[in-house]
Each structure stands twice: as C-alpha cells, then as structure tokens.
Symmetry: C3
Subunit: 337 residues, 3 copies
Amino acid sequence: MSAAECRTYTAGDLAGRFGLELRGDAGTSVRGVATIAEATPDRLTFLSNSKYRGQLATTRAGIVVLGAADADAAPGTALVARDPYSAYARIAALFESQPEAPAGAHPSAVVDASATVDPSAHIGPHVSIGTRSVIGAGAYVGPGCVIGEDCLVGAGARLVARVTLVTRVRLGERVLVHPGAVLGADGFGIAMEHGAWLKVPQLGGVVVGDDCEIGANTTIDRGAIDDTVLEEDVRLDNQIQIGHNVRIGAHTAIAGCVAVAGSARIGRYCLIGGAAGIVGHIEICDKVVITAMSLVTHSIREPGEYSSGTPLMDNRSWRRNAARFRQLDRLFRARRD
Amino acid sequence: MSAAECRTYTAGDLAGRFGLELRGDAGTSVRGVATIAEATPDRLTFLSNSKYRGQLATTRAGIVVLGAADADAAPGTALVARDPYSAYARIAALFESQPEAPAGAHPSAVVDASATVDPSAHIGPHVSIGTRSVIGAGAYVGPGCVIGEDCLVGAGARLVARVTLVTRVRLGERVLVHPGAVLGADGFGIAMEHGAWLKVPQLGGVVVGDDCEIGANTTIDRGAIDDTVLEEDVRLDNQIQIGHNVRIGAHTAIAGCVAVAGSARIGRYCLIGGAAGIVGHIEICDKVVITAMSLVTHSIREPGEYSSGTPLMDNRSWRRNAARFRQLDRLFRARRD
Amino acid sequence: MSAAECRTYTAGDLAGRFGLELRGDAGTSVRGVATIAEATPDRLTFLSNSKYRGQLATTRAGIVVLGAADADAAPGTALVARDPYSAYARIAALFESQPEAPAGAHPSAVVDASATVDPSAHIGPHVSIGTRSVIGAGAYVGPGCVIGEDCLVGAGARLVARVTLVTRVRLGERVLVHPGAVLGADGFGIAMEHGAWLKVPQLGGVVVGDDCEIGANTTIDRGAIDDTVLEEDVRLDNQIQIGHNVRIGAHTAIAGCVAVAGSARIGRYCLIGGAAGIVGHIEICDKVVITAMSLVTHSIREPGEYSSGTPLMDNRSWRRNAARFRQLDRLFRARRD
C-alpha cells in the first residue's frame, strides 16, 4: 500500500548489512516482515524465544532471523544472530515508512518572529511556535503541535502530531514524542492560605536527554524552580504522569499509565511496570524493577524486583479473604497473648 | 437554548414511535428530559430501578417511562416499557443536539491530494488528512483532528474534536471517538542492545469494528507487526490505554483509566471496571467481569467476576494490618511447625 | 532569557509589598528565585520546613524567606513570614512570565458568527469557537483550543493550549486549564439491549467554579441529564478522570491520575492522593484524605485519612505473602474450630 512496501531485500543483502550469518539461499528476497504464523514467502520473520521453536516447522516465511541454538530448526533461509530480536528490529526498520516531510513550514503554521527554525526542519500544518523557541536541524514537528516559549527541539527530534511543549522545554537530539503528550505544563504546586488555595508559581523547565521516547498522552510537568529531567535514552510509554522536579536516570523504561509524583528520583536502567505508582520525594537506585500496579512508598536502595498488591481471585473468594485483611493485626496480637 | 430544546413530543407520539404502552393523557407534551427530582411538567423522566419508586410520588414530570411493575405508582402520564432504561435512551436521543455539520471541508482544513473524502463528509476547521487516507460517507471529522497516512474513517463515523489517527488506523461504520483520543501511535517495543535501547519498529495498524465508542484521551497503539483489533460494539471510556496487538471481543465495555498491556486478548461481553490493569500476553474468556482497580496477572478461562486488592480502612487501622501482610507467610509456616 | 528575568526587587520592596518583617539590608536586590542549594546572591529562596534549616548555613541566596523560629539561622538578608511557603508563592509570582497575549483573535482562529468574544479576550492561533459560546473579559484561549457549542469561558480564565470544551461547559472566573484537558465529552452511559450496547444520550453540561485549576490531559465528562459540577477553588492535577454527574466540593485538591466514577460526590477540603480510585454513586464527606492508589468503594461519613493496599516488598517475599492472602479466610475459620 505505502511506498515502504515496495522495498525488497535479499538474504544476502541483509546478512552483509547487519553482520549476520547466512544459512540457505542468499538470493531469497523479502519485501516486509510478518509474524511466524502469518508470514508468506515474501516476508521475513524472527524467533527470539526458543520456547516457540516448534512454530518454525510450519512457517512459510522466506527468511527467519534466529539464534544459533535454533538455526537447525529453520525450514528455509535463515539469518543467525547473537540477539535475534535486536537483529529483527534493525531489519524491520528498513520497511518502516514515514510520512513525507519536506523541509520548511506549512503555510498554515504560525511561527513567532523571534523563533529560530532550522531550514532543514519540517513544520506541519496548524503548528504554532512561540517566542524565542528553537527548532533544530532535521527536526519534524507534525500537524497540530504547539511549541510555547523558550523551548528547544533538538536536531532530528520528531514530534509526531498534536504534541504540546508549554514553556522552557528542551528536547535533546533524536527525541521522539507521540501525539497528545504535554511537556512543560505547570507542576501541581498549591499552598493553603486562609482557607483557600494559593497557586505556587512553577518557574522551572523540562530537560529531555538525547534519544528519549515519550508516549501518547504522557505528561511531564515543568519544575517548580529547577528543571524536571529525563537523562538520555529514557523510554516512556503512553499516559504516564511525571510530576515536577522528577529526575529519571538514563536507559530507564517505564510502561503505560505509571504515575510518578513530584521530586521523585529514579535511577538508571530501571524498569517500571504498567500502572505502577511512585510517591514524591523518594529515591530509587539503579537497576530496580517494579512490577505492574505496585505502589512505591519509600526509597529503594538495593537493585532488584519489588512488588505490592494481592493476587486476582474469583470475587466470592476475594471478598472472604479481603474481609480478613481487616482483622490481621488482631489475629497477630491474639497469638502473642 | 439550543435548537434541540425547541422540539416537542406528545406521549402519544412517543408511545407509537417506540412501541410503548401509554397510560394517561396521550396529549401530554414534553420538550426535554430530566431527573425524577428535577423534572418539570414539560419534561420526561424515567424509573429503571424499583428501589427508587418512592420518588414517583413527588415528581413533577409530565411523562414517566417505567416498567409494568411500577406503573401503578406513576402520578400522571406514563409510558410502560419492558426495559425502561433502553426506552429512555431512545427517547432522550430525540432531544440530543449535534453541532451543525455541513458537508465538505472547512477552508482551514489541509487535505492531502492523495486522500479521498466522501462529498457528504464534514471536515472541520484545522483538520489535517494525510496521504492515501479515506473518509467515508456522512462521516464527521471535528475541529483539530489529525488523520495520518493510510487511515480509513468509516461511513457515519464521528470524530468529535482533536482526535488523532496516526497511521494505518481503520475505523468501522458509526464509530464514535471523543476528543484527545490517539489511535495508531507506536506500540512500546524496545530491545536492549549494548547497554542502550533499540526501538523495535511498529508496523501494524489498528482496526476498530462498527459501532465502537472510544473515550476522551484514550490511546490505542498500532500493532508491532499484525494489527491491534477491537471487534464491533466495543465501548471504551476515557483515558484507557490499549497496548499493541491487543484484541478485544465484540460488545465488551471497559471503564475509565484501564491499562491493557500488549498482546492481551479480551473476550466478548466482558465488563472491565475502572482503573483495572491487564498484563500482557494473557487471555480473558467471554463474559468476564473485573472489578475496579483489580490487576489481572494470568489468563482467565471461566466466565465470572474477579477481583484483587484490599478494603479501604481508616489509615491507622490500615497501617497496622498492612504491616502484618509482610508477616503472613511466616505466620502460616509457624502454624505448620 | 525572558522578559520576566529582567525584573529586580529589593528586600525593602518585598517586605512592604507583602507585609513581611525585614532583617538585614533593605537594599539587597534579587531578580529571580532559586532553591536553597542552587541560589546565587541575586536570587531569593525560602525555608518552609525547619527540618532543612541546616542548609541555611551554606546558601548563597541574597534573600531568604522563612519563619520567625528559623530567622536566627539566616546568613544574610531575611524576610520573616508567618507562612513562608505562601509568602514565597506570592513573591515568586512576580517573576512568572506569561506569553504575550494581545487582545483579539488570531487570523487563523475560526469563531462562529453566533459566538460572543469579549474584545479584551485573547484568542490564539488555530482556535475554533462554536455556536452560542461566550468568551469573557480578559480570558486567554491559547493555541489549538477547541470550544464547542453553548460554552462559557469566564472572565480572566486561561486555557493554556489545546484544551477542548465540548458542549455546555461553563468555566467560572480565573479558571486555569492546562493543555490536553477535555471537558464536556460524553459520559460513559450505555444500556444492553438485545445483545448489543445502546448509547444513552449525554445531555447535561459541566460547571466549573471560580478559581479552579484543571491539569494537563485531565478529562471531565458532561452529565447525563444534570451537570457535572466542580465548586470553586477545586484543584485537579494531570490525567484525572471525572465521570458524569460527579460533584466536587470547594477547595478540594486531587493529585494526578485519580479516577472518579460517575455520580460520586466528594466533599469540601478533601485531599485525594495520586492514582486513587473512587467508585460511582458514593459520597465522601468534607475533610477526607485518601492516600495514594487507594480505592474508595463505599461512602465515607467521617473526616480523616483512609487507605487501602499492601506494602511494597522485594518480589520474592511479596510472592510468598501474597499467596497466603488467598488462604486467609481458611486460616481464620480454622482458628474458630
């Protein structure tokens, strides 16, 4: 359908390009990727988990990318990789199509006279760019994006569509931001005074390191005074909330719907499961794994995996057991007596 | 205030139109709906739960829609229905007003030359439509929507405002999508390679069946290779996250803020409570009910109601009992000794 | 960098303006705020928690705002306040910069002929305003906002960017709404009829009282028949979901990612922690505190703090203890025998 679908690569091409070991016919050609189950002879597929090795017997794929241990089981042409999933990712990128993005600004875009847009950048329809903001070389600012004041979009960064950078947001190079994300909105700072809330001005910015990815409808608030910071290569899924003055270490990945409260610090190489919560003003060290929907209420100083919650049960059993939770302390005390 | 408010219907009209049994004066006319408590004589109200039957005594409503069992208690004109809530829904739709939507594209809309827009479709202000996308007959694309590449908006579909369809999103007929929803953004696919994340290209699409409804700020990611699929008549509330390659069966309804991780499969006629979580790569059979904020961590093979979590308590009691949760295993082991 | 950065205030100015007690040199001048740790001599900082008093010894800040009890420890010029955090908030507002907002509508804005826009209001680029809507004096409607039909934006209200008011949304004076928020989308009303869902028309509106703040990507649905209501000075953080016909009392503050289901009523001066859930059709009285990620499943009639959930543990310990949760009822029953 799209232009990308017309590209064709042979097994020989791919082996050479990505340094993979070829087994079978170097001339086998593919024009796309597919799952093991759905692949046709003009598609490449992959096997990254030996558990599913049995599926190789029936796949119709033209080429299979897999590890050395599974190579015997490949029915036809194979590309052997040390890490088949990474090798697949690199190959699949060849078939990825991006919308055309001519350099320059669409006539409907509104760019403030004080903003600086690199001539090689693409500014899509209905975009607005505010005072003193800077758009770097080769950046892509898709339809409907709003860039406020004093923002920086790094070279090669890509704002897919309808992204908002409010104020003082600086994105590194090659940062990818998906639609609906809002970076640099006010943090939630309020003080009670004489029975009413007084807004505490939010004056900091947001700094996002090189190669970060920010999911759809994710929000990252500006700092109250200092900045909210994502170090390089942080990967955020959709609908994540990052409060003001949070700092997230390099190479940390966070799954969808996680809530991180203000001033929390998360280390490097952490993996935070979906819908987990992290309260404010705590510190999580490097290489911590939090399982889905757990709530982190205190600092974590040792790498490892952490969890909270109770197991899923049929509702009737759950009601009985949950009611007993209320009586736990009494039970323990009774035992002591 | 709006045009819809000027429409007037008599009890006789409504009985005939919807096949309801009339009791009382066929000439009683109403020009809107209201709650039992707030209704005035020119409004229609309904009673769907006999528990609230006592409120009939004091309602001032001109017409009450109710079940046969409660019909005696109606103070004035009544319409008797087998299912009063459905009958009310059908009647209330008469009073619903929609913004005017002339056929054709607003002059500020940006439609790619390769896109196909049915002449009867409405394309609102500040909309952009990308390459090869197709907008069906009678579709409504509200202000600020972004339709990317290779998308299809089915006949009679309605994108209220500021909806984004990124790439390869196909909406069935009469699909209703609320503002801020993002369909077809990249799934969260990353692979660790030499200490940094490598993005795994997301090449699939999103397929949404006929008569689905997608809530405000809900996100549905495109599949990694195959599509993410909602079968027909799936109803999603606001701020739901649907990961890549999820499949949701027909007539399933999901309440707000639910997170569904990648490759999960949910059956038909399921009801998922608000803020629940469903981990990836599991299967939930038909007719499963998940209560609010439960986490589904394994496949469910039997219809029924499922839950996790602990009951709400005053904080002091909760602290005492929650602390004991840490000691549960030790307690059980001690009993065995 | 921005204009605000050029403003300079002396300690004497600030003491007079905000009624604070000056200690030290009235001529000390500052041109911004900073944290205690990062402040330079041209910045003002504050100490609101005596616990951090030790940091005063090393701060380089030109002026410190603090309480009387800590005033001795200030190394240089100090402003003594009864509530240092509120005093800081009022001073910091002097340094807050807002984007320039000339009165009138940007040429790219699309304003329906039946709408009424006060001449002093600012309507940004790519805004659309629907039939019969009214924009009050001094209101700011930022880039990409969509105002639907029969809406009211109160005097001095501020819609930062890409805010959607769908239908019948009435915002009070000085209401602040952050990007991506959606107010007035349909509530989640569906009825099962003959094996398929029937949509129940959502005909009510949303009423937001004076001085409310609504966070980024937060959603507030319109009522089914009556309105969804936020009383004055309600403060909502990001990514909160408020279902149809919810009522939230004045001065209540809700942290990010909270889900409030339909027809729940929340009292005045409540504090709802992040990612908490509140089921539908219940009532929470005034001055209730809910801790993070708790689920409120029943009405609360006494002020106080409430919680649910289990503590975070290392995954191995958690697995052992969580497994025992399934056996709790059996354990209690065994003890009775």
